[in-house]
Symmetry: C2
Subunit: 133 residues, 2 copies
């Protein structure tokens, strides 16, 4: 298998606070995001923190998706990493940003597995409306 | 909880090929790396691929550690993300690079949760000798 991968780092701000604290919703959203991008889900592990916040990962055949949510700040820290060139990690990242109702996003893409690490700035401001409750 | 975090991306090359394919060893190494850095382990999920390669994550109270290994290329793709300023993710990343016997490493650190994403180049070439078999 080729080592080449694409790693999208998305900082999502002004998200829906209730959703950021809803582990079942986040877990479902992440699995759906992986499937939407055409990935194959292998392992799912999520953890709810007290008094608030959710961390979790979906391991896919093509690498992983992770989240750490901070409901008190309306912030979610997202990583979507896909190996190969079959899948676009931005599809999953956009799906997640939309589902969490992110009002502002900062996104960079980091090429992985191909030598010296360089970072491509993807976007500064963005606005997503929530599509499900 | 403060959103500030430190995310170390480490591209490890020329690793010990047998270790890159040993899921039990990698899982133990990742848990030990988290503990070595002073993190609190919450969830552990690893997956072994056929014919080779291991993907996995350790979710810690302070965020996560992930790996995707490509034994056929001597390559391991590592992320260590820690929230707050109590823990240094480089401690865990160095522990992992050493355990996998990485002959060359490319490491960058990405500040998370503090606004626009910038990347700090950490190191280019490195050499780690394996400490366990």
């Amino acid at each position: 298998m080729d080592t080449m991968g694409r790693h999208v780092i998305a900082e999502l701000w002004k998200c829906n606070i209730e959703k950021l604290n809803d582990m079942a919703f986040i877990e479902r959203t992440f699995v759906d995001a992986a499937l939407e991008a055409g990935a194959e889900v292998r392992e799912v592990a999520f953890h709810k923190f007290a008094p608030q916040g959710v961390s979790g990962v979906v391991i896919i055949s093509e690498s992983h998706l992770t989240i750490h949510s901070f409901p008190e700040h309306g912030y979610a820290s997202i990583d979507v990493y896909t190996c190969g060139d079959r899948i676009d990690p931005n599809v999953a990242a956009d799906f997640i940003a939309n589902a969490l109702g992110a009002g502002r996003s900062e996104v960079v893409e980091v090429p992985r597995g191909i030598g010296p690490i360089e970072v491509m700035q993807k976007s500064g401001e963005g606005s997503y409306s929530s599509t499900s409750s």
